[in-house]
């Protein structure tokens, strides 16, 4: 269509805006190979010293493993809890169903700074501050709404006749669930799991309220590090984090297409 040929000024504008949008993410890669002692771009010479420094930093490594196991636990629990819940929301008819769904997804609407403080005050009296259990619980509050949403959409677009067909063929309800419903839901589960993993792994505001010297996550450590000094060590960590994120995105893309996973 002739009219729709985007004009050159418009294309240049879009290009510049894309540069702006992606600049901070792209920049950390060259910066991570800086040989300089301080944050400087472009670096005066190149080296891998900051990667060495990162892998020698025990505090960062410990935080990384904490984040990784935290995200893994949270992801598994989110799926285990959200799959039956999403099934109830899409397959059973009962009064107050929509109200419950809104309530269960409501934590997404609350600013994390408010939610973080609210959880801090309650957890303080439960003795859950700076514990793994506390972190898992707090992260579940934020990841479950995402998981519930993605899974409910997947389940509601599934052909219900498949479940009915299995019933008429002699499968009991539980058999139908594990042999038909869940296998058909795999793409949705992968998307929900990836989303939960990323949300938990990247979560920083709520976690800041709940961590301490005893236990800390990678994003919190990075935050503290940047708050105190800004040198290319964080660039090396960031570059690795971005690669990890890309890996997770590629898994989702393989499983169901990124667009479908995020456009609710």
């Amino acid at each position: 269509m002739e009219i729709h040929k985007t004009s050159w000024p418009m294309r240049i504008l879009v290009f510049v805006l894309f540069i702006y949008l992606l600049a901070p993410v792209i920049l950390v890669f060259p910066l991570s190979f800086s040989g300089d002692q301080v944050l400087r771009f472009p670096p005066t010479f190149w080296s891998t010293r900051w990667y060495s420094a990162l892998f020698a930093n025990n505090q960062m490594l410990k935080a990384f493993w904490t984040s990784l196991s935290l995200a893994a636990i949270v992801t598994v629990l989110s799926i285990v809890i959200a799959v039956p819940a999403a099934w109830v929301m899409t397959r059973l008819r009962f009064a107050g169903r929509d109200l419950l769904f809104n309530l269960f997804t409501a934590p997404l609407l609350l600013p994390t700074i408010v939610l973080g403080l609210a959880i801090l005050i309650v957890f303080a009296s439960f003795g859950l501050l700076a514990t793994m259990q506390g972190l898992v619980f707090a992260h579940l509050v934020v990841t479950l709404p995402y998981a519930l949403r993605v899974l409910a959409v997947s389940l509601s677009t599934q052909d219900k006749a498949c479940e009915e067909a299995a019933r008429t063929l002699g499968a009991k309800p539980l058999t139908v669930f594990f042999r038909i419903t869940v296998p058909m839901l795999v793409p949705g589960i992968v998307a929900a799991a990836a989303l939960c993993f990323l949300v938990s792994f990247d979560e920083v505001v709520i976690t800041l309220f709940l961590t301490g010297p005893r236990i800390s996550t990678l994003p919190v450590e990075l935050y503290n590090y940047v708050y105190n000094q800004a040198d290319p060590l964080v660039a090396a960590a960031s570059a690795l984090l971005i690669l990890l994120t890309l890996g997770v995105i590629m898994i989702v893309e393989r499983a169901m297409g990124l667009g479908k996973a995020f456009v609710k």
């Binding site: 269509m1 009219i3 729709h4 985007t6 294309r11 504008l13 879009v14 894309f18 949008l21 600049a23 901070p24 993410v25 920049l27 950390v28 944050l39 771009f41 809890i81 039956p84 819940a85 099934w87 109830v88 008819r93 009962f94 309530l103 269960f104 409501a106 934590p107 609350l110 600013p111 994390t112 700074i113 408010v114 403080l117 609210a118 801090l120 005050i121 309650v122 619980f137 579940l140 509050v141 479950l144 990247d202 920083v204 309220f209 994003p219 990075l222 935050y223 940047v226 708050y227 800004a230 964080v234 660039a235 960031s238 984090l241 994120t245 995105i249 990124l258 667009g259 995020f262 456009v263």
Partner: protein, 289 residues
């Protein structure tokens, strides 16, 4: 007809019982990790803080009265709202062309660009803020470039300018996605019709495209405003302790000063600002219909 063997209805799970059983875990987490803390937070805003971090469980309006009569906090609220509005506006301006371009793109190119838009969203705010620090720092590429042209070197870090630039970028993906969702109404044929009827590109934009995309704009602005008011990481790291906003103050009161009642009151204030934003949004939407 032969004798019919009758069978009584067997005991079966009723839908309601099954629902309760399967929803129990998520309901517990929601109740203990969301409802209880938020209600408790509201209650805390009426408690009294003792010097040294102790808390007296009373019912007092002191915190609220204190906030509303203290110039510092009034300015804090005013600044937060005003800066968030300004950031929302720049985010809109920076996002609109990308969203429009994406809306018109098609096929693999569109998918690729959409992934590019979404990918920053999946990158930690700490990482992206750090990237902006590297770009805007005193000897960084932007300041060097400005100096190279012979202009006076601006100071972009550890003040509101840096927060502004960084936060705009961080909110752009949200705005772009919201705009694109709203652009569904924008049928390319409408534009063509306007052009064939003799409208100039500028008039087509102001008279046709803009009005049709207003719902998307309203949604994106609501989302970004809400996120800007509650943003914490970027102002904290890029403001260098010199930028005071509602969210950073909540954190400082909660963690540094250990004045939880005051932090709770400020949080309630954030929720009130949210409510106001939602109300404004619904008014705008009703006007648009």
């Amino acid at each position: 007809m032969s004798a019919v063997s009758a069978s009584a209805p067997p005991r079966q799970w009723r839908d309601g019982e099954l629902a309760i059983l399967l929803l129990l875990p998520i309901a517990l987490i929601n109740a203990i990790g969301f409802i209880l803390p938020v209600l408790n937070l509201a209650r805390y805003s009426f408690n009294r803080s003792r010097i040294g971090g102790g808390i007296e469980t009373v019912f007092t309006w002191e915190n609220w009265a204190g906030l509303l009569s203290d110039r510092f906090y009034l300015e804090l609220v005013f600044n937060s709202v005003w800066i968030s509005l300004a950031i929302t506006l720049t985010t809109l301006i920076a996002s609109y062309p990308i969203a429009l371009y994406l809306h018109r793109a098609s096929g693999a190119w569109r998918t690729f660009l959409t992934v590019l838009v979404i990918s920053p969203l999946l990158t930690s705010a700490v990482v992206r803020t750090y990237g902006w620090i590297a770009i805007l720092i005193d000897d960084g590429p932007v300041v060097s470039a400005i100096k190279a042209v012979g202009l006076p070197a601006p100071s972009l870090m550890f003040n509101i300018k840096g927060v502004f630039i960084g936060l705009t970028e961080i909110l752009m993906p949200y705005m772009i996605l919201a705009l694109m969702a709203g652009f569904g109404r924008l049928d390319p044929r409408v534009e063509e019709a306007a052009r064939t009827l003799g409208a100039t590109p500028a008039r087509t934009f102001t008279k046709v495209i803009l009005p049709l995309t207003l719902p998307g704009i309203a949604l994106g602005c609501l989302l970004c405003f809400v996120l800007a008011v509650s943003s914490f990481i970027t102002p904290k790291l890029m403001g260098g302790g010199r930028v005071f906003l509602l969210a950073t103050e909540i954190y400082d009161q909660a963690i540094v000063t250990l004045n939880w009642p005051l932090a709770s009151t400020l949080s309630m204030l954030v929720l009130i600002v949210f409510g106001a934003a939602l109300w404004a949004y619904s008014v705008v939407l009703r006007r648009l219909d």
